[in-house]
C-alpha cells in the first residue's frame, strides 16, 4: 500500500490523465445502455414455463394480452359502433396480432335452417338496434362467450382483447390503444376505460424506470453531499468522494453500454448502491487524511499514511462488498446477474478511484488552511467516549438483550411470506392497480394461465377430457373463464345438432372442425390446436393475487389436469402466472445461495488481513443485523419480494464497514493495550467514521424510498435501517462481543507482521490516545 501511495503521489498528473481518458471512453458507452423493463427480462434461464411460453407463442401465435375494459351501456348502436371503430383501428397498429371484441367475434348459429357463420356485427355501415339485440342474445347464450368474456354479464362493460406480438413494441401498442379509446369511446353515455395485461405492466414499468433512474440518483447524490459536508465541514470533503464515486458510476454504466446491456427494474438499485457504498471508501481515506493533517503531518505524509493504513481496510472492505455482490452472478436470472456485476464493477471502480485517483488529486491540491480534527473532543467525541464506557460496563447485558431481540426476530422471520407478483411492484393506489381491480371486479380474473396439452386431439375422448377439465377448473374459487378447442367444438356441435355435448366419433370431430376452419385463417384455426391435432392450448384467467395464492391455484389446476388427462394427454404450464412463480423460485434460490456465499466470502476476505476469530465475531454481529432486518419484514407484513430477497447479501457486503472497529481494536490489542482500553480507543477513533459511514450509506439508500416501485422502496427503507443498525450495533453489540469473545488477538502470521508494522507506525504518528482511556 505504501508503494502504491508513493507512486500515485509522485506522478499525480499521469494517474489523473489515465483516469480521465478511461472515464471519457467509458462515458461514450453510457448512451448505448438500453432500457428493458419487461417482465420477460426477469425470466430465469432454466424456467420450464419460459420454454413452454416460447412454444405457445411459436405454435399458437399467442401474443401477450392487452385487455381494454370499456365501461358504459354496451348494448346500444352508438356504443357498438364506437367499439367497432376502436377494434378496427387497433387491428391496424403495428405489433398487434389480433383484436377481438363483441363486434368482430364470430357468430355461428342455426338461423332459420341456415348455418350462419359470420361476425357478430357488420364490418361497416350503421348498426341497428335489432342487430345489437341479436348480438346481445347471442353473447348471453353462446357457449364460447359465457362468463362475460367479451361483455360483462350485466352489459355494463365490454372487453377489447388485443394480442400483442411479444417481440413488438408494447409501449407503442399501449399508447395506440389509449389514443384509439380517446378517439372512439367518447359518447357522454359511455364511461371510463381500463387497461390491463402484460404490455400495460411493461409500459408502466418502463415509464417508471425512465423517470426514476435520474431522480433517485440525484436524490442519493444530494443526500450524500449533505452527509459528507456534515462530516468534513468543507466543500472539498463533500465533493471529493462524489468525484471518485462518479468515476465508478461512469465506468460501470459505460462498460454496461459497451457490452450492449440494458437497465432493468432490478438494476435501478445499482446507481444508488454504487453511490452509497463507493463514497464510503473516500470518506474513510479523507477522514484519516484529516486526522493526520490535524495532528501536524505534512500533506504528502498524511496522504501516504491514509492510503497505507486506512487504505488497506478500505481495500479489503471494497473487495468484500464486491465479492458479496458477485454472488448474484450465480443467479439463474439474467437481471439479477446484471445487477450483481454492475454493482460489483461500480464498487471496484470506485475503490480504484479512491485508492489511486483521490491521492493523486489530493497531492495536487493545497492542504486545507483549517483542518478540524475529526477525533478532537466534541459532542460526537463525548458521546462515543460515554458509549465506550457503557459498553465496557454493560457488555453482558448488551449481549443478552441482543440475544432476546434475535429470538424475537426469528419469530418475525417465520412470519415472512414470499410474494413476487409483478403487479405488486406498484402501489395499491397506483392507476395500474386500480385498473386491474376494476377489471377483475367486472370479469373475474385477469391473470393468464395457459395449459399446453399434447396427445391425439383428433380423439373425441381427449376433447371430452379437456371439456371436463375446463368445467371443473371454472368452479375453482378465483377462476375466470376458460377456452380451448373443446369450447369451440362444443359450440359447433350444439349449433349443428342442437345437442349439448361433443362429437362421438373421430370422423364427426374432424368434420365439425372443418366447419370451424370454413372461414378462419391459419392463425385463427390454429390458435387453440395445431393443424395436425397433436397439441392444444387451454386458456384460463385467474384472479390476480400474491404469488403464494397464484401458486396454490396453479397447483390445484395441475392436480385437476392430471386427474382428467391421465392416459390421454400430457400437460404443461405457460402464461404470466406460472412464469411469476418461476421468478419467485429462482429468487428464493438466489436468496439462499447469495446470502450464504456472501457470508463465507466476507469471512474469508476479512480474515485475510485480520484474524478468523475477528472476522467471525464481526460477521455474527452483521448476521444479527440481517436477522433483525428480516424479522422486521415479518412483523410489518412486508413480503419477501424481488428486492428484499437480495437484501441479505447486499447488507452483508455493505455492512462490512463494521470491521473497521474490529481492526482498530485488534491493532490496539497487538500494540499491547488491554481489551477494555483497546476497545475504548477503537470506539473513540473509529466511531466517528463508522457513524458517518452509516449516515452516508443510510442517506444514499434512503433515496430509494422515493421510488414508485414498492420492492425498491422497501429495499431503500430496509437498507437505510440496516446500515444505521449496523452503525449502532457496531458501536454497542460488536464491542461487547469483542470484549467477551475476542480477548486474545489472533491472525495470519505473514499479515500480522504487516499489521504490527502498521500499528507501530500508527502509534508513532497518530498521538491520539485519549488520556483517560
Amino acid at each position: 500500500m505504501l508503494r502504491l501511495a508513493t507512486l500515485t503521489t509522485s506522478r499525480p498528473r499521469l494517474f489523473i490523465a489515465v483516469f480521465a481518458v478511461l472515464t471519457a471512453l467509458a462515458a461514450v458507452g453510457i448512451p448505448r445502455v438500453g432500457i428493458n423493463a419487461t417482465v420477460a427480462a426477469m425470466y430465469p434461464d432454466e424456467s420450464a414455463h419460459s420454454a413452454t411460453q416460447t412454444l405457445v407463442e411459436e405454435t399458437f401465435g399467442a401474443g401477450q394480452l392487452l385487455i381494454v375494459m370499456l365501461e358504459g351501456d354496451v348494448y346500444t348502436p352508438a356504443a357498438m359502433e364506437a367499439l367497432r371503430g376502436l377494434t378496427s383501428e387497433l387491428s391496424k397498429v403495428t405489433g398487434v396480432k389480433r383484436v377481438t371484441s363483441a363486434t368482430n367475434a364470430q357468430r355461428m348459429e342455426d338461423d332459420d335452417g341456415f348455418l350462419l357463420i359470420t361476425d357478430l356485427l357488420p364490418a361497416s355501415g350503421s348498426i341497428t338496434p335489432e342487430q345489437v339485440s341479436a348480438a346481445r342474445a347471442y353473447l348471453e347464450t353462446a357457449r364460447m362467450y359465457q362468463g362475460g368474456v367479451l361483455v360483462a354479464e350485466d352489459g355494463g362493460s365490454a372487453n377489447v382483447v388485443v394480442e400483442v406480438d411479444p417481440n413488438g413494441d408494447s409501449d407503442r401498442v399501449v399508447a395506440a390503444a389509449r389514443r384509439a379509446v380517446a378517439a372512439h369511446w367518447t359518447e357522454p353515455s359511455l364511461g371510463s376505460a381500463y387497461f390491463v395485461g402484460s404490455p400495460v405492466v411493461n409500459t408502466a414499468m418502463r415509464g417508471t424506470l425512465e423517470r426514476e433512474m435520474p431522480l433517485l440518483g440525484t436524490i442519493a447524490a444530494l443526500l450524500l453531499l449533505v452527509m459528507l459536508y456534515l462530516n468534513f465541514r468543507s466543500l472539498r470533503g463533500a465533493l471529493l468522494p462524489v468525484l471518485t464515486v462518479s468515476v465508478g458510476m461512469v465506468w460501470a454504466f459505460g462498460v454496461l453500454g459497451w457490452l450492449g446491456g440494458s437497465f432493468t427494474t432490478m438494476t435501478s438499485i445499482a446507481p444508488v448502491a454504487i453511490l452509497a457504498v463507493g463514497s464510503s471508501f473516500s470518506l474513510h481515506l479523507l477522514g484519516r487524511y484529516s486526522v493526520e493533517l490535524a495532528h501536524g503531518a505534512q500533506k504528502m505524509a498524511a496522504i501516504r499514511t491514509a492510503v497505507t493504513e486506512t487504505g488497506l481496510g478500505v481495500l479489503i472492505s471494497g473487495m468484500a462488498i464486491s465479492a458479496a455482490m458477485l454472488t448474484f452472478t450465480l443467479s439463474g436470472m439474467p437481471a439479477v446477474r446484471a445487477l450483481g456485476m454492475l454493482v460489483a464493477g461500480g464498487v471496484l471502480a470506485s475503490l480504484l478511484a479512491s485508492l489511486l485517483l483521490l491521492p493523486a488529486v489530493l497531492s495536487l491540491l493545497k492542504p486545507p488552511k483549517r483542518v478540524s480534527d475529526p477525533e478532537a473532543p466534541g459532542a460526537i467525541g463525548g458521546l462515543l467516549k460515554r458509549l465506550g464506557v457503557l459498553v465496557d460496563r454493560r457488555r453482558n447485558l448488551i449481549l443478552i438483550v441482543s440475544l432476546v431481540l434475535a429470538v424475537f426476530a426469528v419469530v418475525g422471520v417465520l412470519r415472512i411470506e414470499a410474494n413476487t407478483a409483478v403487479l405488486d411492484y406498484f402501489r395499491a393506489d397506483s392507476p395500474i392497480r386500480q385498473d386491474y381491480e376494476r377489471v377483475e371486479r367486472a370479469f373475474g380474473g385477469s391473470s393468464q394461465v395457459q395449459l399446453v396439452v399434447t396427445g391425439d386431439l383428433g380423439d373425441p375422448e381427449a376433447i371430452r377430457a379437456m371439456a371436463r377439465f375446463q368445467e371443473r377448473a371454472a368452479e375453482l374459487p378465483g377462476a375466470g373463464p376458460t377456452s380451448s378447442i373443446a369450447t369451440v367444438i362444443a359450440a359447433i356441435h350444439e349449433t349443428l345438432t342442437g345437442e349439448d355435448g361433443l362429437p362421438a366419433t373421430r370422423e364427426a370431430l374432424a368434420q365439425e372442425l372443418l366447419i370451424y376452419q370454413l372461414s378462419g385463417d391459419v392463425q385463427h384455426v390454429s390458435q387453440f390446436m395445431t393443424l395436425d391435432s397433436s397439441m392444444g392450448l387451454i386458456e384460463m384467467s385467474i384472479k390476480t393475487g400474491s404469488t403464494r395464492e397464484q401458486r396454490a391455484m396453479v397447483e390445484r389446476i395441475d392436480a385437476l389436469a392430471s386427474s382428467e388427462f391421465t392416459g390421454l394427454l400430457e400437460h404443461s404450464f405457460a402464461g404470466a402466472t406460472p412464469l411469476q412463480i418461476d421468478i419467485e423460485d429462482s429468487l428464493m434460490h438466489d436468496f439462499l445461495i447469495s446470502l450464504s456465499l456472501a457470508v463465507v466470502l466476507v469471512i474469508i476476505i476479512d480474515s485475510l488481513v485480520r484474524s478468523l476469530a475477528a472476522a467471525l465475531v464481526t460477521i455474527v454481529v452483521l448476521l444479527l443485523t440481517i436477522l433483525f432486518q428480516y424479522g422486521l419484514l415479518g412483523f410489518l407484513g412486508v413480503p419477501l419480494d424481488l428486492a428484499t430477497m437480495l437484501l441479505g447479501a447486499l447488507a452483508i457486503g455493505v455492512g462490512d464497514y463494521a470491521i473497521h472497529l474490529t481492526v482498530r481494536y485488534m491493532e490496539q490489542r497487538r500494540a499491547g493495550d488491554p481489551p477494555e482500553t483497546a476497545m475504548g480507543r477503537a470506539i473513540l477513533t473509529s466511531g466517528r467514521s463508522i457513524l458517518f459511514t452509516a449516515l452516508t450509506l443510510g442517506a444514499g439508500f434512503g433515496a430509494l424510498i422515493a421510488s414508485e416501485f414498492v420492492p425498491i422502496r422497501t429495499l431503500g427503507s430496509l437498507m437505510a435501517f440496516t446500515v444505521l443498525s449496523v452503525g449502532l450495533i457496531s458501536l454497542t453489540v460488536l464491542p461487547a462481543a469483542c470484549l467477551v469473545f475476542l480477548r486474545q488477538p489472533r491472525g495470519s502470521i505473514n499479515l500480522a507482521t504487516n499489521l504490527a508494522t502498521n500499528v507501530a507506525t500508527n502509534a508513532a504518528t497518530a498521538k491520539e490516545a485519549p488520556p483517560n482511556v
Partner: protein, 268 residues
C-alpha cells in the same frame, strides 16, 4: 330472424365468394400463352390478363397444404367441379380419411344471388350455409376469398392500376390501388406479370406500406391450349404461415351433368 337477415340477403355472401374463388382458380387454368405484345399502361396489362379465355367447365383435383409458422401442417385433398354457367361449383373432400365425403357446393343465379350448402357425412344431412366476408380465409388457409377472386380476374373496377416498371424478361410490375368506395382490405397490391404468360406469377399485398401477404405461382402446365398454374403459394408474412395449392388432373370443357350440382350428389 332476430338480426334482420332475410333468405335473400343472406344468400349471396359465402356462395358468391366461393363461386368467385373457385372460378378464379379455374380461370387461371385457362390462360393461354401471351402474344408478344407490349403494354404501355398498368390498366392495359391488367385488362389483357382479364381478357384471357377460360374453359366453360373444369374438373380438377386440388391438394391444399397449410403450414403454420410452427411447422405443423395439414394437407387436404379435394375434387372440384366447376362450370361458368351460373356459375356453379362443388367441392368434395377426398383426404384425409376422417373428412372424406364432406362436401361444399355453391350456386349463383343470373340475378346475382347465390346459395351454398355443406354436407358432413357424420351428420348425415345437407345444411345450407350463410354469412362470411370477402376477407375471410378460404377453408382455413392463407388465401382469402378476396385474394383468390382477384388472382386472375385482372382488371378490377375497384382498382386503379399504375405500371411501375418493366423488369428483365418483360415482366410488367403493376401497382393496383383501391379506388374510392372500394371494400378491399389492402391499400396496395403489386402484380408481376410476365408478358409471355399474361398471368401474375407474383402478387404482393400491402397494408399501410407493409407487405402482409405474398403469392407466387411457381409451376404451370399447358393443356388443351390453356396455360394452367399448378402450384400456387400464399404466404402470410407476419404470421409466418403459408398455403400451397397444387392442381392436377384437369378435365377442361367437358360436359358436367346438372345433377352434379345437387344436394343429392353432394351427399353421395
Amino acid at each position: 330472424m332476430s338480426d334482420g337477415h332475410t333468405p335473400a340477403s343472406r344468400r349471396p355472401a359465402r356462395a358468391r365468394r366461393l363461386t368467385l374463388a373457385l372460378g378464379t382458380l379455374l380461370l387461371l387454368s385457362s390462360l393461354s400463352s401471351a402474344l408478344a405484345q407490349r403494354y404501355s399502361t398498368g390498366q392495359e396489362v391488367m385488362d389483357a390478363v382479364a381478357d384471357q379465355n377460360a374453359p366453360s367447365t373444369t374438373i380438377a383435383t386440388l391438394s391444399m397444404t397449410i403450414t403454420a409458422a410452427s411447422g405443423h401442417s395439414l394437407t387436404r385433398e379435394m375434387q372440384i367441379w366447376s362450370t361458368t354457367e351460373g356459375p356453379r361449383q362443388l367441392i368434395k373432400f377426398t383426404a384425409p380419411a376422417d373428412v372424406r365425403g364432406s362436401g361444399f357446393m355453391s350456386i349463383s343465379t343470373a340475378g346475382g344471388t347465390s346459395e351454398s350448402w355443406i354436407y358432413l357425412p357424420a351428420l348425415g344431412r345437407v345444411r345450407r350455409v350463410a354469412g362470411g366476408q370477402e376477407q375471410d380465409a378460404f377453408f382455413g388457409s392463407d388465401f382469402s376469398y378476396e385474394e383468390i377472386s382477384g388472382l386472375s380476374s385482372g382488371s378490377d373496377d375497384d382498382f386503379e392500376y399504375e405500371l411501375l416498371r418493366i423488369d428483365d424478361g418483360l415482366v410488367y410490375v403493376v401497382a393496383g390501388t383501391p379506388a374510392a368506395g372500394s371494400t378491399s382490405s389492402y391499400d396496395r397490391i403489386v402484380y408481376f406479370v410476365p408478358e409471355e404468360l399474361l398471368l401474375p406469377t407474383r402478387i404482393e399485398f400491402y397494408v399501410g406500406g407493409v407487405l402482409r401477404k405474398l403469392m407466387t405461382i411457381s409451376d404451370t402446365v399447358l393443356q388443351d391450349g390453356f396455360l394452367l398454374p399448378t402450384t400456387i403459394r400464399m404466404e402470410t408474412v407476419a404470421a409466418g404461415s403459408s398455403t400451397t395449392l397444387v392442381q392436377t388432373g384437369f378435365q377442361l370443357d367437358v360436359e358436367i351433368q346438372d345433377e352434379v350440382f345437387s344436394e343429392r350428389f353432394l351427399s353421395r
